[in-house]
């Protein structure tokens, strides 16, 4: 390590204005309540939409069964959104995920229903097929250099065609119980019920999980904050930090209590939580994740910095294929049959979720949690509007407007920030 001696390089008489010379202020932006509108806007919008539909549905939106429904009914879109945001951060797009959902559902059905294969190997093979599909597309995008838009548009047709070839015009089902449970079922109540006063009975295990999640969030955030302070970085002031933690805890516990009052935790929610955690770590802390941002931010600079652009792009598509196959299995399991029209227009929902969640059209920007929030915004709109009996064309209209406004807002805040510099 010789970089420590890299240079007291300031010219002897060049110190006219040394703005950045001293160490940064150790203490946080204490008094000033700084609010990053661009990053927080989507969460504010999410809260507003929830409040709006709670009022419109007389609280029906937040009822125990409905919260559970929203999670279960949209889990596959959220899984797709995780893969999609990574692809979009890298500056690509994937239009084929809906068709891959369909073809992987069909593969799973053929293996389990027609061939009677036990579910664990069948699941594994299906995921492998997803990986192969991703590798096929990744090869054309990364190594052959065809724009992802074209490759995956072709994939959209090819894999839909394969689905129809395998399934013909009807679906294949029913699936084994285990697969249906993964898609639709709930964890058993390991510890029995506990009374919550006026709220009635609730599953104890679920509540404990909820408390553990809250403890985990607060604990890691606190440790991160302490570490940052140790390195003299800026952090939120203590009251603001506490406020954020209380808000997060309140949201988590509200959802958990409602779920506990209904039927414990859905299995897909557990799966989704694991995926969100894993992919958040990947994007924030892993070298691979950093490479995705570097490629999306400036492709040339990334490759001149020794980042293996082709390999990263290839594996991103493999990852998307696996996640699509997973979503395909869950979707088929939920309907208890693999159908030829499965996954129609899922790609649009996943892409919309990513962009509502703050991804930039040019790439380089985006967060997994943002994509999930974007997906949930769409889910709540779908669910809330169907609860109040709005016709489907109005749901579409509203979703379209939300997508447009979300991206317009992003562009606007960026332009405003740009004008200052």
């Amino acid at each position: 390590m010789t970089q420590t001696s890299s240079g007291k390089a300031s010219a002897p008489d060049a110190g006219a204005e040394v703005v950045g010379g001293g160490p940064p202020p150790a203490k946080a932006s204490g008094r000033r309540f700084s609010f990053n509108l661009r990053e927080s806007g989507i969460y504010v919008a999410f809260a507003l939409i929830i409040v709006l539909f709670s009022i419109l549905t007389d609280g029906g939106l937040l009822s125990p069964q409905n919260i559970s429904n929203i999670m279960v009914q949209n889990s596959y879109i959220l899984i797709l959104a995780i893969g999609m945001i990574l692809i979009i951060i890298a500056g690509h797009i994937d239009l084929s995920v809906g068709s891959v959902v369909a073809v992987s559902g069909a593969v799973a059905a053929v293996l389990m229903v027609d061939m009677g294969m036990p579910w664990p190997p069948a699941l594994l093979i299906t995921l492998l097929v997803g990986a192969l599909i991703g590798a096929w597309q990744g090869y054309w995008v990364a190594y052959f250099g065809i724009p992802a838009f074209i490759v995956t548009l072709a994939g959209m047709l090819i894999f839909r065609a394969l689905t129809l070839t395998v399934l013909g015009n009807q679906g294949i089902g029913p699936f084994p119980d285990e697969v249906r449970t993964l898609a639709n079922g709930f964890l058993p109540g390991f510890l029995g019920n506990v009374g919550l006063g006026p709220l009635g009975g609730a599953d104890l295990f679920t509540l404990i999980v909820g408390l553990a999640i809250v403890a985990g969030i607060v604990g890691t955030q606190w440790r991160a904050r302490q570490a940052r302070l140790g390195y003299r970085q800026q952090v939120d002031a203590l009251p603001l930090f506490a406020l954020k933690m209380i808000a997060a805890a309140a949201v988590v516990m509200t959802v958990i209590v409602q779920l506990a009052r209904f039927k414990n935790l859905p299995w897909v929610l557990v799966l989704l939580a694991v995926l969100v955690l894993g992919y958040t770590l990947l994007t924030n802390r892993a070298v691979f994740g950093r490479h995705i941002y570097a490629i999306g931010g400036n492709l040339h600079a990334a490759s001149l910095s020794g980042i293996k652009v082709k390999s990263v792009t290839f594996w991103l598509f493999v990852n998307m294929g696996v996640l699509s196959a997973l979503a395909g299995i869950i979707f088929a399991g939920r309907l208890n049959q693999a159908g030829p029209t499965a996954g129609n227009s899922f790609e649009l929902d996943a892409i919309a979720a990513a962009f509502i969640g703050g991804a930039a059209v040019q790439g380089g920007v985006g967060k997994v949690v943002g994509a999930i929030t974007g997906g949930l915004i769409m889910a709540v709109i779908n669910n809330g509007m169907s609860l109040i009996g709005a016709p489907s064309e109005r749901v579409m209209l509203f979703k379209g407007l939300v997508l447009l406004i979300a991206v317009a807002f992003d562009v606007w805040t960026k332009r405003r920030a740009g004008a200052g510099g």
Binding site: M1, T2, Q3, T4, S5, S6, G7, K8, A9, S10, A11, P12, D13, A14, A16, E17, V18, V19, G20, G21, P23, P24, A227, R228, G230, Y231, R232, Q233, Q234, L281, N284, R285, A286, V287, F288, R290, H291, Y293, A294, G297, N298, H300, A301, A302, S303, L304, S305, G306, I307, K308, A360, G364, V365, A419, G420, G421
Partner: protein, 509 residues
């Protein structure tokens, strides 16, 4: 009384949180070439944007009087109608359109609503003649070099009946020959009665061409110098720009030169666009520890192509030749391999090839050596911050913290981020391609000091530069390239601009 074509009085322009211009005055005499000088970020470009209506009337304070009439431009079209045309540093030609189409873009020659192609091309040809550009007007803009594109921009301005031509860093991307031609053209236009305002960092050019020079520093007018007498020296301008006397433009340096670290033998590279054409042929080059070596050449000589092809074959096809590191032959098939052999290349175009402008300083600094901050694929974020912050302090990067977005830094500070990124890879050999392009005088001095320090740490530095004084002031030894060949090698003591220029212009034997 002097006849002023333009007077800007008391211009003040504020951005959220920053006062970019404060009570700036600029008076330009009719028919002169007026230079505007100042360090990067001093407010020159902002001033020109106010003048040309990019920032409309009402968004700034102060008044503009053009040709005796007060002006309230609401946009570029407004100012162009009065004959004020600005040519930006980044050329605004559409690459796939022809020269003629570019000249009349937004100003098409039409007949009954349809474009009159004969008229368009004929008029374009006449304009090209006027700017001394011998190209067919139907050639696509992407097929001519930067120097010629600059002339197309001027032809475009002429087509708008320009009376006041503003050029923002017109020669920044040009080689000396094209620059000289451009300056001649400006003199010719002056004789036709066209007034020019030229923003430039190249003081020798200003001295050669300007009739007067206004110096701006920190958003204020410092002074206007009359250049006609010829007494104003470059050092005089510099002291106005930096507000202090810069005794020497180059920090003093005693080299300690060690053994050979890199040797390139018989290096040949072909163009990816035309694989039969060699852009570098049979080049031989050696670098020693602690040595700063220059690589001089006109644009198109193959300097960047040589450097990038060595740096993990980042450029070119049909590459042949041998590279020896510390006496042993090595293979450099990818950038990753080059980095692992401790070779670094800092690009000439930091915005396009060097930085991720939407990310913060810290992530740019770590980009080429993330492995040093990671264990089993996971990055230690706090260590990353510490490293980046260390560079911020050592290199005097002017930013509130390393979490600042690089896109918002000035050119000099961006360059320091690029250098930090490569120093963090701990290279034995650093290739710096135009390390001070678009950087103001004060920051240049700092970059030179950093380069000296890198050499003192026992690294070999290869500096590619289009500015001969820079090579002469900085390097211990200078290679000259022409048409893909190394045509000369001159030690510092024997190097003169004339000698280098001879090698740089030597034809193929």
């Amino acid at each position: 009384m002097t006849d002023h074509i333009l007077q800007m009085r008391g211009i003040t322009k504020t951005f959220p949180g920053v006062k970019a211009l404060q009570d700036v005055n600029l008076a330009v005499r009719r028919g002169e070439i007026h230079a505007v000088c100042g360090e990067n970020g001093a407010g020159k470009s902002t001033l020109m944007k106010v003048l040309s209506g990019v920032y409309p009337h009402g968004s700034y304070d102060g008044e503009i009087v053009f040709d005796g009439e007060p002006c309230r431009f609401s946009g570029i079209r407004d100012s162009e109608r009065r004959g004020i045309v600005i040519i930006h540093q980044e050329l605004a030609l559409s690459p796939y359109l022809s020269i003629a189409e570019n000249i009349f873009l937004g100003n098409e020659r039409t007949r009954r609503g349809l474009i009159d192609w004969n008229h368009t091309n004929a008029e374009a040809a006449a304009l090209l003649e006027r700017v001394g550009l011998r190209e067919n007007p139907v050639t696509r803009a992407m097929d001519i070099g930067v120097g010629k594109q600059q002339l197309v921009e001027i032809a475009k301005a002429l087509s708008k009946r320009v009376r006041l031509l503003i050029l923002d860093e017109p020669t920044a991307a040009l080689n000396d020959e094209d620059s000289a031609h451009l300056l001649d053209l400006l003199r010719g236009l002056r004789d036709e009665g066209i007034t020019s305002v030229i923003i430039s960092h190249k003081l020798n050019e200003i001295k050669a061409i300007a009739d007067s020079t206004t110096i701006i520093r920190d958003g204020r007018t410092i002074e206007t110098l009359d250049m006609s007498g010829g007494e104003v020296t470059e050092d005089r301008i510099i002291s106005g720009m930096v507000g202090r006397d810069l005794e020497h433009r180059f920090p003093p340096h005693e080299p300690t030169i060690g053994e050979e670290v890199l040797r390139i033998e018989d290096w040949t590279v072909h163009s990816p666009a035309q694989p039969e054409r060699a852009v570098v042929s049979g080049a031989n080059l050696t670098l020693r520890r602690g040595e700063i070596v220059g690589l001089a050449g006109l644009m198109g000589a193959g300097r960047t192509e040589l450097a990038m092809s060595v740096f993990g074959r980042s450029y070119g096809v049909g590459i042949s030749g041998r590279v020896y590191k510390d006496g042993r032959e090595i293979q450099l098939r990818s950038v990753t391999e080059a980095i692992s052999h401790k070779i670094a290349y800092a690009t000439e175009d930091r915005k396009r090839y060097g930085l991720n402008l939407i990310q913060d300083i810290q992530r740019n600094v770590s980009a080429a050596a993330l492995g040093k901050l990671a264990r089993r694929g996971w990055i230690d974020g706090n260590e990353e911050y510490r490293v980046a912050d260390g560079f911020r302090a050592d290199m005097n990067i002017k930013a509130p913290s390393v979490l600042a977005v690089t896109g918002k830094l000035s050119g000099g500070n961006q360059q320091k981020v690029v250098l930090s990124k490569w120093i963090f890879t701990d290279p034995d050999v650093l290739i710096l391609d135009e390390p001070t392009r678009g950087i103001d005088v004060g920051a240049k001095y700092e970059i030179y000091a950093i380069i000296n320090q890198l050499a003192d740490q026992g690294r070999a530095v290869l500096v590619i530069s289009s500015e001969l004084p820079e090579l002469l002031g900085l390097c211990d030894r200078i290679y000259a390239m022409s048409a893909g060949r190394i045509t000369g090698e001159v030690p510092r003591a024997e190097a003169t601009p004339e000698r280098l220029m001879q090698f740089m212009t030597r034809e193929k034997e």
